[in-house]
């Protein structure tokens, strides 16, 4: 196959007003009136299913009742007590598969209480009012803990440790703290630099030092950290990206979706960002959705998500799939990438093979091929752990990820871990927050024993 026309990748596809509109808050916050009307819908269930479904066990009926009772800042304290990143989780949690899925009003009417938006109302109110930090740090213990990774797991762990009176140093390879909250989440879910505001809020507890630009294995070693600190928490995330394994993967226009999103999150001027006219995103998870929708919002005309299995197998929730579709993204199932078409060092098309499940339920190609023209191909077929920086310190892994106990202890007596880098569990912000919290309590218990 030869290129029919030169690849159309450019910036300034839209007017500046369009960029502003497209990347404004995708779910605008509730007004105080809307929040009161919505809060009134909560039944204050006994042993509430929403609370059980929340990975951080936020007392949802209690915080909603506080909103009802005219105490939204108090509601935020209830949230923060379980989840110090409750503000970000209110924005990014897939509530439709967590708390809101099991809300009894979902069962009764198909319309759950809008728990996510109420949580945002409470936490936003708290932060906008610049209330004093809701927790008081315990007397200093003199213990020092290193946290590697300033993402949700690391920040959650650091805050909880600091609140117990420990001194915490957080190392992060990037320029800014926040991890995926800063570099990975779609821009329209966290506007107005919220991730940095939240980091500042967390640091208000005191006793936490953040050292950015310090990568494990490059600037600090695990060996040194375990020697110098009383305990270490690893919240490394998943730094690698799965390759397609096709020729031409290094061609211009073949891009890791996570990199595309990270650049988009950091760029000052969205209109300066280049985007293709026709885009194919390979994958079926949240990253695929975020990359597809954001490229559409940057002005791409045709955006297709190609996923090698069926709709029911997609990691992205139905809600997120619909979000993509309402933004004009076409989702095609049962298509696996077969070859990239490159001309003059740039991709211009991708051929995919139709797939099916064979008699044993295994994915198999049918031999039928489909070729889609593409100025850009985004790879979003999963992120991978990197055990490299752990070298020199014996830690058990499981399929490349760190093995941890229920208390988030690794096989090394001084090292705990949590978030996406550990084995098992869903790769969700809220799960990472819980990991950090559990690990912090375990570290505290171990150090104070």
């Amino acid at each position: 196959m030869t290129a029919t026309q030169p690849g159309d990748v450019r910036a300034h596809r839209l007017s500046s007003a369009d960029y502003a509109d497209n990347f404004s808050d995708i779910h605008p916050p509730l007004t105080p009136h809307e929040a009161l009307v919505e809060a009134d819908r909560c039944y204050f269930c006994y042993d509430a299913p929403c609370m059980t479904a929340c990975p951080t066990s936020i007392d949802i009926p209690m915080f909603i009742r506080k909103i009802q009772a005219g105490n939204p800042a108090g509601a935020a304290k209830t949230i923060f007590a379980q989840n110090i990143l409750g503000g970000m989780c209110a924005r990014v949690c897939p509530t439709e598969t967590l708390c809101e899925e099991v809300c009894v009003r979902e069962i009764a009417e198909g319309k759950p209480v809008k728990i996510g938006l109420l949580q945002r109302h409470a936490t936003d109110t708290f932060m906008e009012r610049e209330e004093p930090h809701p927790f008081v740090r315990a007397a200093p213990t003199g213990r020092r803990i290193a946290v590697v990774g300033a993402g949700p797991a690391g920040l959650s762990c650091a805050h909880r440790l600091a609140s117990h009176g420990h001194d915490v140093t957080v190392y992060d390879a990037r320029e800014k703290a926040g991890g995926l909250n800063e570099y990975g989440i779609a821009a329209y879910k966290t506007t107005n630099d919220f991730a940095q505001d939240e980091v500042e809020f967390i640091l208000q507890i005191g006793g936490i030092t953040i050292e950015t630009g310090k990568a494990l294995g490059r600037d600090v070693t695990l060996e040194r950290l375990t020697a110098e600190f009383d305990a270490v928490f690893l919240g490394l995330g998943l730094p690698g990206v799965n390759p397609l394994g096709l020729d031409g993967e290094t061609a211009r226009g073949v891009i890791d979706a996570v990199d595309f999103i990270a650049v988009l999150r950091q760029v000052e001027d969205l209109s300066a960002l280049e985007v293709g006219r026709r885009i194919v995103v390979i994958g079926g998870g949240m990253t695929a959705i975020d990359a597809a929708v954001q490229s559409k919002l940057l002005g791409a005309e045709e955006v297709t998500i190609a996923y090698r299995r069926g709709q029911e197998h997609m990691n992205a929730s139905l809600y997120e799939q619909e979000l993509a579709q309402t933004h004009g993204v076409v989702i095609r199932h049962w298509l696996a990438p077969k070859s990239l078409h490159v001309s003059d060092g740039a991709v211009f098309a991708i051929t995919l093979e139709k797939t099916t499940l064979d008699g044993d339920g295994k994915l198999a190609g049918t031999g039928e091929l489909v070729t889609l023209e593409a100025d850009q191909v985004f790879k979003a077929i999963g992120q991978t752990p990197d055990a490299g920086p752990l070298a020199g310190v014996p830690i058990e892994l499981e399929k490349g990820r760190i093995r941890v106990s229920a208390e988030r202890r690794t096989s090394h007596p001084k090292i705990w871990a949590g978030g996406d880098c550990v084995a098992g569990g869903d790769d969700l912000t809220v799960v990472s927050v819980e990991d950090g919290k559990i690990a912090a309590e375990s570290i505290h218990k171990a150090l104070m024993a």
Partner: protein, 436 residues
């Protein structure tokens, strides 16, 4: 189509829905709008003596409590009787009655407790062509400090005396409006009847402080930093009013005395309940003040539809039907046994029935069965109290089912089909006869 027309003391109206004496009936403009919307009658806002009218506060007059979604449940007011000139009111009453001859026009009156005052105003009201008068012995704020309103209504002798004057100086039917701010409503009702009153209407508003402003520590509504008690009305007072109506309806001394029921009527159903307790008409205020006059259409149509469904051709067909079933606790059948039943198909698993029963009552509802969230009544603990029914957010999900056979798993005693009440119960030291 049911016939909703009423004849109350000879006063005819196309339906039993009257607007109570209150702000909605203060002037011709409002009353004509009410009649256009379909109200069967009005009680014109209370007239005072000739001369300089009363003055109202110029700050907030109302306060409220709300339910979910800010639905108004109770309203409190510190407004006084009409603050318009008597002459203007009388002229407007005359005009409106002339234009709307088929609607009931009752005039509420409150003048000092002196014979000359009543003797002076009654002929003037009668000249308007009004169908009757209602004596405001109920207003609990402002006027009561001047020896009127509730200050009269709380003294049965005064009620009787004023009723006698009104019957003496006027041919109009006399309705005495009763205050609920007393210990036993039967005494003022008996006094009204003894004074020759043709009917009573009740309840007037209940003395209340509706809330306290926690920023300036003053009652709401707050007038320049201070507040005084007001009169409470709206849906929240309906249970209190129904009881008082029933007390009068079943009191041998007042049985059969016509009653115009007032208190928290929001829908046709509320009205039907008052009528079932003996009322000949009902009066509405808060619902109109919340939603406007159009609500009378839901009330009238709803009442008509229900009567059709039940086969009642006229209001009289069901009026007072609930009175014989109001009794004293001591006559309730202690052999009647019910158990709560949870409809598992309707249950949304909120668990409120469980926690209400577990924390505050009888530990008779499960939360978990075989490791699964499941709410089920344990008959051996259930006393049939109905709390679970009341706290369940789903209509008809939990019902009380009568046990008619076998034995009560809670007590182990066989179900006794015979009626037996406390007066003969062996545990009652005052039992009138020994139990078998």
């Amino acid at each position: 189509m049911a016939d909703l027309s009423t004849n109350f003391l000879g006063i005819k109206s196309p339906n039993p829905f009257w607007l109570a004496s209150a702000p909605p009936t203060d002037k011709a403009y409002n009353v004509e709008r009410a009649f256009e919307a379909g109200w069967g009658g009005v009680v014109w806002k209370t007239l005072g003596e000739a001369g300089p009218p009363v003055v109202n506060v110029n700050g907030p007059r109302y306060g409220a409590i709300w339910g979910p979604d800010r639905r108004l449940l109770g309203l409190n007011n510190i407004e006084l009787i009409t603050d318009r000139d008597l002459e203007v009111n009388l002229r407007e009453i005359t005009d409106v009655k002339r234009r709307w001859p088929d609607r009931a026009m009752i005039v509420s009156i409150m003048v000092p407790c002196e014979e000359q005052s009543w003797k002076g105003i009654l002929p003037r009201v009668e000249d308007t062509g009004a169908d009757g008068i209602e004596l405001n012995f109920g207003c609990p704020h402002g006027m009561s400090e001047r020896g009127m309103g509730a200050a009269v209504g709380q003294v049965p002798e005064y009620i009787q005396m004023v009723a006698e004057w009104c019957k003496h100086y006027s041919k109009m039917p006399v309705i005495v409006k009763l205050t609920p701010n007393i210990t036993d409503i039967r005494y003022p009702a008996r006094a009204a009847k003894a004074g020759g009153a043709d009917a009573v209407s009740l309840i007037n508003t209940i003395s209340s402080i509706v809330s306290v402003d926690l920023d300036n520590f003053a009652p709401v509504p707050t007038i320049d930093g201070k507040g005084s008690h007001g009169g409470y009305c709206g849906p929240a007072v309906k249970p209190i009013a129904l009881n008082m109506v029933a007390e009068i309806a079943r009191d041998p001394a007042t049985r059969g005395l016509p009653i115009s029921g007032i208190g928290g009527i929001q829908t046709w159903r509320d009205a039907a309940e008052y009528i079932a307790l003996g009322c000949g008409t009902v009066q509405v205020c808060t619902a109109a003040m919340t939603y406007g006059f159009k609500i009378v259409q839901e009330m009238a149509q709803g009442l008509s539809d229900w009567m059709d469904e039940k086969g009642y051709a006229t209001i009289a067909d069901f009026q007072g039907r609930a009175v014989p079933n109001v009794t004293d606790w001591q006559y309730l059948n202690l052999n009647y046994i019910t158990k709560a039943r949870i409809d598992q198909d309707l249950c949304i698993k909120c668990g409120r029935c469980h926690i209400a029963c577990e924390d505050t009552s009888h530990q008779a509802i499960t939360a978990m069965v075989d490791g699964v969230r499941h709410f089920e009544v344990m008959d051996d603990e259930c006393v049939g109290c109905n709390l679970c029914v009341n706290v369940c957010p789903v209509d008809d999900c939990i019902t009380m089912v009568e046990m008619t056979q076998g034995s009560d798993p809670r007590t182990g005693r066989p179900i006794d089909p015979a009626y037996a009440n406390w007066t003969t119960h062996p545990n009652n030291p005052m039992a009138k006869q020994a139990a078998e």
